[in-house]
């Protein structure tokens, strides 16, 4: 049976050990449970409590969670740049998913800010100082550094992992490697909603 102890981390663990526990526990939680809301909610809890068990800067994390492809998002832009019926499709957008931390922005357009850049490019964004990132969305003025990892399934962006920290240089290559592993596990371990709009291209 699932137990809250899954999110208890021993004192003195290394960052690698904490992330390993996150992955092990997530794999167990996702066994025979593919509901994405359920799984992202528990994964956010695992991440949050892992960071809080670590020394600074990791314990200065102030937001950990997910954005997913908004089901009301328009389809990806067609390869042609010609407008359709006089209009160009708007950008795809992310919508807030399960998280731990303070209230957060609800909608983020692909390409906007750190999350939008990760969604648009399908590449991890490791930002040592958000104030130097073009178009940064300051949902929380306390956030000073951020890492965003795309979750891609069958070449489709389905979600992102987003983690914020109140100090600069809150994240490094270790976070990148392990969060990318978590993104792969989450991507494979959930049934993702089909997009409401289906592109004909």
């Amino acid at each position: 049976m699932v137990h809250a102890d899954a999110s208890n981390f021993a004192a003195g663990v290394t960052k690698e050990e904490a992330y390993q526990q996150v992955l092990d526990q997530a794999e167990g939680l996702f066994y025979e449970q593919r509901n994405w809301v359920c799984n992202l909610s528990n994964a956010a809890a695992l991440l949050w409590h892992a960071y809080k068990s670590l020394p600074s800067p990791s314990n200065q994390v102030n937001w950990a969670g997910f954005y997913t492809l908004d089901p009301l998002s328009p389809p990806p832009p067609p390869t042609t740049t010609a407008p359709v019926n006089g209009k160009r499709p708007g950008p795809q957008q992310l919508i807030l998913g399960p998280f731990q931390g303070k209230v957060a922005c609800q909608i983020i357009a692909f390409g906007r800010g750190v999350c939008g850049a990760a969604a648009l490019t399908k590449t991890t964004q490791l930002v040592p100082d958000v104030e130097g990132f073009p178009g940064h969305i300051a949902c929380d003025g306390d956030s000073r550094s951020e890492i965003v990892v795309p979750i891609v399934v069958d070449d489709r962006l389905v979600a992102i992992i987003d983690v914020d920290c109140t100090v600069v240089n809150g994240f490094d290559g270790v976070d990148r490697v392990w969060l990318e592993r978590l993104a792969e596990l989450v991507g494979k371990g959930c049934d993702w909603p089909a997009p409401a709009f289906v592109s004909s291209t």
Copy 2:
């Protein structure tokens, strides 16, 4: 624009004032945004930070969030008690939704534990000491009291609000009144997924 400050509560506010802020902020957040995952995620953040701003016992809350009707849940049992094809339908079930706190149980059958009782009876369960509640599900041994409020839309149970506290008598009539107001706001403010199973009765 949505800002994390929405979950900052002034020092010294009363419980009523904190809940009023939760409702006011939730109403603002739900304006022109009816995605239930997005809205429950922010509502859980509001509740969590409200409790943490209050004196004991409210600041001893260790879990605040939602369970929703599992889309894979079987339909409600028919009024007849006769088995169908030799089988009786299993009970409906809840599935974990957005929350703040430690990792939590994923599936709860209607009628099981405090959450299941609220879902089955569609009535608030205010439990001063969970150890005295028949069939209590001990997801977290630290939890000692609990309040669970049903979210009912068009006479259909769509979700519950669940809050746990590490001390006995963590909740009172004030919590009941305000969480029931929040349940009504959340129920009206979200588009809820249609059940995957539709009863023919």
